[in-house]
Amino acid sequence: MTSSPPVGYHAKSSHTPFDSMLEATNLACVRGARRLFSDLNFSLVPGTLLQVTGPNGSGKTSLLRIICGLMAPEEGEVRWQGANINSLGEDFSRNFTYLGHRNGVKEELTSVENLRITAGLTGIELTKSGAAQALAEVGLAGREELPARFLSEGQRRRSALARLITGGRTLWVLDEVLASLDAAAVNMVERLIERHVSGGGMAIVTTHQLLNFSPGSFQRLELATELASGSASPGLLS
């Protein structure tokens, strides 16, 4: 896990800067006294999946939060269609769905309600049956009307995943998306991402299990453990 390709490798080699939708340049992240990574560059074009891997604490969550604009990078910037995401503000939010370690599911509400409200908040009117259908797709049929606090850990995760289906966003940013999911659900998520990507979407995913995924549209970014030099060098594998 600690082996890593040359520092500062640019992924956009085969694309001109303008056909990349999302682009990160020279990102560096410092948490407390630790430099988690620096000189991190990548760019995503429609129809690609970027899987971020790396040992615990290597900065995957931090990277994803930086990409969403929830955290400011120490150095570098993230650009969406050429514009810095800070300058885009809320307009950038229109383009992606983020799923973090925490599910973002209200325990008091049923899965249907959770889904409809999230959709509503992002500007989409979702009917009850539409929500139920998405929930059935993630394997929660029969549990749509159960308040989320009664759901098991994995069911709660599935309930959060349903957002991906109803959101209709171009970019999916998924942190540790397979945690707590059973084998059937893992497969379901893989198919979901595959469908999304092959339909021209983009996804950035962190997991500790490797995704079972058809190659080609598939990039891997490996964050190394902290190095003695203090600056980890992220490597990008295709």
Binding site: E90, S93, R102, N103, G104, K106, L109
Partner: protein, 219 residues
């Protein structure tokens, strides 16, 4: 989209209606505690009534507000709200509006009843009602700044109390002042106008400050 924010919080409140009711009861109980601690002399009670009711409203508002944000913070939904494609300012206004509707309006409505227990006269009750109606949104708005700042920051507690309470104090002074004025037979309108000015001010600036605080807390 704005209406979804309000709708969401109203729905949550409906699910937790016991909670809403208990904010109301909290208010009533806190108010009732004072006569118990102070003794039953009617004259004395009447003179502390405005202060008591207003302090109780302040506390009830602070408690319920705090809950609104920290619940969302802990289950990750606040993060999601931050990432919705609309100005965070609006999100904040929506949440505060819902909180006010759910937790403070019932309190404003019941306050005259509580006032009767303290032997206030009908026109004093009216002033109490009006002052709370104008004053409680200010409490919600200002309180939201504090609630947002305290979210992640463990050390932020005192800082926020220091920051927010001085801002609460004018509301308390003008609010209780209006009622006090009526009791002693002075025209309460000066206080009411000042309260209204505070409301306008806080409507403009507080959501903005809260939004900034939220971004900082979630970083």
């Amino acid at each position: 989209m704005f209406r979804w924010i309000v709708a969401r919080d109203l729905m949550l409140a409906w699910r937790r209606r016991a909670d809403v009711l208990s904010t109301l009861f909290f208010f009533v109980i806190v108010v009732s505690l004072f006569p118990l601690g102070i003794g039953p002399e009617t004259e004395l009670l009447r003179s502390i009534a405005p202060g008591t009711v207003w302090v109780a409203a302040l506390l009830a508002s602070m408690l319920s507000l705090n809950r609104v944000f920290s619940n969302d913070y802990h289950d990750g939904t606040l993060e999601q709200l931050l990432l919705t494609p609309q100005p965070l300012y609006l999100v904040v206004v929506g949440k505060v509006l819902a909180q006010w509707l759910v937790s403070e309006v019932p309190l404003v409505l019941i306050a005259p009843l509580v006032g009767v227990q303290f032997g206030l006269s009908p026109d004093t009750l009216l002033v109490l009602f009006v002052s709370l109606l104008i004053g409680t949104p200010i409490l919600s708005l200002i309180g939201s700044i504090g609630a947002a700042l305290t979210l992640g920051l463990r050390g932020g507690g005192v800082l926020v109390a220091l920051l927010v309470l001085p801002l609460y104090i004018p509301v308390l002074i003008f609010g209780a002042g209006a009622v006090d004025a009526t009791i002693v037979g002075i025209d309460p309108m000066a206080n009411i106008y000042l309260l209204t000015a505070l409301l306008v001010l806080s409507l403009v600036f507080a959501p903005w400050a809260t939004a900034a605080a939220l971004r900082i807390s979630l970083e």
